[in-house]
């Protein structure tokens, strides 16, 4: 038993020791496609891979000496298991912008609790911007056919520049296959440069070495901010190409399997940036500039009124960051304030130059003729590599006295001198018998507010017509109702007889009371609801009915009313109909 235990422990120790002893940590540098490389290009990414072959089950992130000198763009971890032997890899996609020789490693790795060190790699980094790297790399890729058909090129119109000098850059993706689609342009982290004027995408067709490519381009301007070597890193572009038929026909397209996203890098660019030579005085910009003009609108204004002074510089430079120039030696009688600035692009691309305008609000505070002196704009001319100064022409501003200048309670902001007061008095003209001229306002045609005649007449006539319609309608309605009442009065008895006959046919005893009420109401010119029993009796008495007759009427009227409130099973008396006819005939003689 003891022998068995000792044997197991020994076997375990042996296995553990053999796995650690067999493990090997390797550091290697490859290009972005995984191929071994001996040197890198500044600004172009490559990969640093730390692999623990045949190592244990766990491997923490390695500590790589010298890794912090590189710009890490991405990192990933891979694990392979082949025949029970695992290989763990930590891969870093990095970039370095400055040429030189770099030492990477050793990478220190903790494999299953044991610390292991890798080899050390010395990597020379060269500065180049002429060779499109993807051409070399793509040849090594497995799908060489595809890579050859897609090229990404980053170009610059110049490489030796001064600080602030515009560099026109173009990134172009050439694709031989017409169905190649660009998915994403991944912009790298930029060195200290300013970027402006981005344009694109611009599509075109180009022929390179006899192959026709479909090209998509982006353009922008770069303004270096520091002297030295500036590397514009390679751009990473993602694109899709249609897959060949995989045998699944439309199913692949349905599930999006026939779109294969691939990546390609452009070449990096290296710029040699020089410092500007020393210059006494302010320098406004770097570039090639043309006309520098000044304009004042209006040139004549009243004291206190605003005029717009516009300085305009035309040329090719970093117009976006061009600060508002300070106005020099302005007369004390003119106050000014910075207003706004704006860039005017040329109407047609490639024709003419852009310009930037600076607007100032100028306010005259004293009457007189004042000169806005020449303004200067100093810039480093990149064409001649010298400093140049552009100047504007002087402008005369005429400030008129305000019409209320003579009032003691409304003084000008700047107190006038005695001579100025005299000059103002000299310019005042006494209009004498005429009303004075109008000094401000309404020099342009003013709109006189009034309702158009057609609208006014509409407002007058429409209510009038409405009222007339209402009056006519009321009149017609009144006449009609009067005629209806007369007709009802005259034909009340015949109508009552007809209704009575109809009620008799139907044996509708309860109708009798209503027929008599409506008959009496029509003859007495009142509403049925206004009619009362006492009122009827009074009328009968007035017409000479005896008390017996009145009593007989009361009995008949109450009897007919009783049928209104009686149930269906009440015994009906047919003599009611003869009495009803009798009373109609009687009432016809008195009502």
């Amino acid at each position: 038993m003891k022998v068995k235990i000792v044997g197991n422990v020994a076997l375990s120790i042996l296995l553990a020791a053999s796995s650690v002893l067999h493990a090997q940590v390797v550091l290697r540098v490859t290009d972005v496609y995984g191929e071994q490389m001996s040197s890198a290009v500044a600004g172009y990414p490559f990969r640093i891979e730390v692999s623990a072959k045949g190592g244990g089950k766990t491997m923490r992130r390695p500590s790589i000496e010298g890794l912090d000198t590189f710009q890490i763009e991405a990192r990933e971890t891979r694990m392979q298991l082949i025949n029970g032997r695992s290989t763990m890899s930590h891969i870093y996609r990095v970039r370095v912008d400055q040429p030189g020789t770099y030492t990477i490693g050793p990478a220190v790795v903790d494999v299953d609790g044991s610390e292991m060190k890798s080899n050390v790699v010395t990597l020379p980094v060269v500065a180049t911007s002429k060779v499109p790297q993807q051409d070399q790399s793509s040849k090594k890729r497995s799908d060489q056919k595809r890579a050859d058909q897609v090229i990404a090129v980053l170009r610059a119109d110049k490489q030796d520049v001064m600080i602030g000098e515009p560099v026109h850059c173009t990134l172009t993706l050439y694709a031989a296959h017409p169905d190649t689609k660009l998915v994403q342009v991944q912009e790298p982290e930029m060195p200290p440069v300013k970027i402006s004027g981005q344009r694109g995408p611009i599509t075109s067709t180009d022929t390179i070495k006899g192959v026709t490519y479909h090209a998509v381009s982006w353009e922008w301007d770069v303004y270096p901010q520091e002297a030295g070597t500036v590397t514009i890193p390679a751009y990473r572009l993602a694109y899709t190409v249609p897959q060949d038929d995989d045998g699944f026909g439309g199913f692949s397209a349905f599930f999006g399997l026939r779109q294969n996203v691939q990546y390609i890098y452009s070449n990096p660019l290296t710029l040699s940036v020089q410092s500007l030579p020393a210059h006494a005085g302010p320098v406004h910009a770097t570039g090639t500039f043309g006309a520098f003009t000044a304009e004042l609108k209006p040139a004549v204004a009243r004291a206190g009124e605003g005029m717009m002074l516009t300085l305009r510089i035309e040329g090719n430079g970093d117009l976006a960051t061009l600060a508002m120039p300070e106005l020099h030696t302005m007369p004390a009688a003119l106050k000014y304030y910075d207003s706004k600035s704006y860039i005017t692009e040329p109407q047609k691309k490639g024709k003419g130059t852009a310009s930037k305008s600076f607007e100032y609000v100028v306010q005259g505070i004293e009457a007189g003729e004042w000169e806005i002196p020449r303004q200067q704009f100093t810039y480093f001319d990149t064409a001649t590599r010298t400093y140049k100064t552009a100047t504007t022409q002087p402008i005369m501003a005429t400030i008129l006295a305000r019409p209320d200048a003579g009032r003691a309670d409304q003084k000008m902001p700047l107190e006038s001198t005695t001579s100025d007061t005299k000059s103002q008095k000299d310019t005042q003209y006494d209009d004498g018998e005429l009303h004075p001229i109008i000094h401000y306002g309404a020099w342009y045609p003013e709109h006189s507010w009034k309702l158009p005649l057609w609208l006014f007449m509409l407002f007058v006539l429409v209510p009038l017509l409405g009222v007339m319609c209402v009056v006519v309608w009321r009149s017609v309605r009144g006449r009609r109702s009067a005629q209806a009442a007369t007709r009802q009065y005259k034909k009340a008895f015949s109508y009552a007889r007809a209704r009575l006959r109809a009620a008799e046919r139907k044996q509708a005893y309860h109708e009798v009371h209503r027929i008599f009420v409506e008959l009496c109401a029509a003859r007495l010119s009142c509403k049925p609801s206004e009619l009362s029993e006492a009122m009827l009796e009074q009328k009968l008495r007035t017409e000479g009915f005896s008390e017996d007759q009145v009593r007989a009427w009361q009995q008949f009227f109450m009897r007919s009313a009783s049928y209104v409130f009686s149930s269906q099973n009440t015994i009906k008396d047919p003599t009611l109909w003869s009495q009803a006819y009798h009373w109609i005939a009687t009432l016809e003689t008195v009502l």
Partner: protein, 239 residues
């Protein structure tokens, strides 16, 4: 000689172009300045160069013409200033025209009741008159509709009177607006018919205002004060 002409033409074109570029407001202010300095001819030129002349420009032009002794033009310019918005300019124009009439030795008091009524309506904006009339008119019709006219007789009569007054004022104002006015350039005879063969019914002084009733091309039938007759078109300027 040919080169000189070319240079002259180019120079003139540039000068005209530069003038066109100058803003109307600037010309107006420049004209005002020249007027204040007593340069009436220059001020007139500045005002005349303004492309879209407003009432103030016409008024100032009238003053310039008056100062230059061009009374017919002064009257025309003032009348044009008054035409667009009489309620704003009538007082000044009336004052200046009175001064002009005094300068030419003529009385400018209103000659007819219509002229007097016209002068009254000039002080009230047309929009105000229209709105007031519509208010009174609607009130009146409302009373008729509700039968209130029979109960509140006093209010009804007042509304009737106010509607009538404002209706008359608006009618007078529209008649004035539609009236075509003209001013004589020189002293001119007024004929009984549209030809010089007709006998002259009177004489109209220089810079006198008249109302045009008919237009027969070379002749206008006009009413000047109490005179009605025909004058040659070339002797008058229509406002």
């Amino acid at each position: 000689m040919k080169h000189g002409m070319c240079i002259l033409v180019v120079g003139m074109s540039m000068w005209v172009g530069m003038l066109g570029a100058v803003g109307d407001e600037e010309l107006f202010l420049r004209g005002n300045k020249q007027y204040l300095e007593g340069n009436f001819e220059q001020a007139t030129e500045s005002y005349r160069m303004i492309k879209r002349k407003g009432q103030a420009v016409w008024y100032n032009l009238g003053n310039c013409a008056y100062r230059c002794g061009d009374y017919p033009n002064a009257r025309i310019c003032w009348l044009r200033a008054e035409q667009a918005s009489p309620e704003r300019w009538h007082a000044s124009v009336a004052h200046n025209i009175a001064a002009l009439d005094a300068a030419v030795g003529r009385s400018s008091t209103p000659s007819t009741w219509f002229d007097a009524l016209t002068a009254v309506t000039c002080y009230v904006p047309l929009l105000v008159m229209q709105v007031l009339f519509l208010l009174f008119w609607c009130g009146l019709l409302g009373m008729v509709l509700t039968g209130g006219w029979n109960i509140r007789r006093g209010s009804f009569v007042t509304l009737c009177a106010l509607s009538l007054v404002f209706g008359i004022l608006i009618a007078v104002r529209y008649t004035t607006m539609w009236r075509i006015r003209a001013v004589t350039r020189e002293n001119t005879a007024i004929f009984a018919g549209p030809d010089r063969h007709y006998h002259a019914v009177g004489t109209i002084d220089r810079a006198q205002e008249m109302v045009v009733h008919k237009d027969r091309g070379d002749w206008y039938k006009v009413k000047a004060g109490i005179l009605v007759g025909w004058v040659p078109a070339r002797d008058v300027v229509v406002v």
